[in-house]
Amino acid sequence: MAKTGTEVVKRGMAEMQKGGVIMDVVNAEQAKIAEAAGAVAVMALERVPSDIRAAGGVARMADPTIVEEVMNAVSIPVMAKCRIGHIVEARVLEALGVDYIDESEVLTPADDKFHLNKKAFTVPFVCGARDLGEALRRIAEGASMIRTKGEPGTGNIVEAVKHQRMMQAQIRKIQNMSEDELVAEAKNLGAPYELVYEVHKLGKLPVVNFAAGGVATPADAALMMELGSDGVFVGSGIFKSENPEKYARAIVQATTHYKDYELIAELSKGLGPAMKGIDLNTLRDEERMATRGW
């Protein structure tokens, strides 16, 4: 008997994305540019995060027309975002046949207390996290892939670095703990003991762990790989740059060959200006997306 929507199949899908770049796109034309540049998947959106920031107001799931347009344009997997806790947006995206759903803090949360029970779905989910506790809470709810939250739409890598460093440090700490200490650590992290125990045994998250939120240049992508990310999401960085084709290719190659600094130097030449970016000190607390969710 064939079984669909199993943990192996959902987590396995993310395994196939490792070492790759997932790019935000807002139409079929951008999706084709991303695919031609070597993206492993695209995220179909109505607006990229920096435009969501600029527009203000409530940000919701994309118009299904855009999602379908992107799905028809490329053969690589297509992801889409739903609001945190919005069961129906998630079900709609699942019905459209998207390959992965991002329950994302980039959109305005629909539920200020509960994230989705992602185990109830056949489609797999990716969720953002700032630290290990948050990552394990999302995995407990059924997330099959984790990404750093970073600070989306800013072109500023500092928060993604902070989140990935935090997660890796906490993983190393748990790995080196005695089993006697794990229950207390689970309490400190606010994470289920079973998952803390799994991290202790594996020395890594039980699911794929990508970087996201502020990646703007090929060197940023390589930095996140260096810090232990399994791959990279690039949001506003590519299509807000002057030469998206060239930029997208450079980011893909820098991610694959993240330790080849001569190559990254070559790739970084003459790319034109990256997106302008935002100094995070100028953001008000309520403008921060990473603090959405718990």
Binding site: M1, A2, K3, T4, G5, T6, V8, V9, G12, M13, E15, M16, Q17, K18, G19, G20, E35, A36, A37, G38, A39, V40, A41, S75, I76, P77, E94, G97, V98, D99, Y100, T122, V123, P124, V252, Q253, T256, H257
Partner: protein, 191 residues
Amino acid sequence: MKIGVLALQGAFQEHQEMLEQLGAETVLVKKPEHLEGIDGLVVPGGESTTMGKLLREYNLLDPIRAMGQQGMPVFGTCAGMIVMAKAIQGADEPHLALMDVEVNRNSFGRQINSFETDLDIPAIGDEPFPAVFIRAPHITRVGDNVKVLSTYEDRVVAAQQGNLLALSFHPELTGDNRIHKYFLSLVEEQK
């Protein structure tokens, strides 16, 4: 015995771990110089369009094709099967074009249709194999020298052509290493 694992993108670590558990020495292949001295190559699952592009970008396509034609065993899973095929439905040009098969990409549907099932593969023993299909391709046509190793609902999902082995599914995501063992026996024969 030294096995290269193509590491441009995808689930290459899982293959590496499984091969090392079986006692093989492994090397991750990202550039042509990494191909030196290998006795076999694994092309893992991932995104075939991305891998095809990076294979060209880093001049890996021709040397790997030549090594495969000279008899070096090559083992492809999922995207790896697509990369090895001589013909890809709906695509202008194949990638390695080593194996005399035509494949259909994503032939079981999108991710919500991805599935696990038990598969009969007589070549590796009587016990069914736990096969994980993720946006999987299947073989639509096989050449005269290609042996079908397994089918699922009348679709060819595992095949061998001498030194070349291709699967639609992902043995590296399971705890069952029988197919990797089978591949290593092909490498042993070639040595």
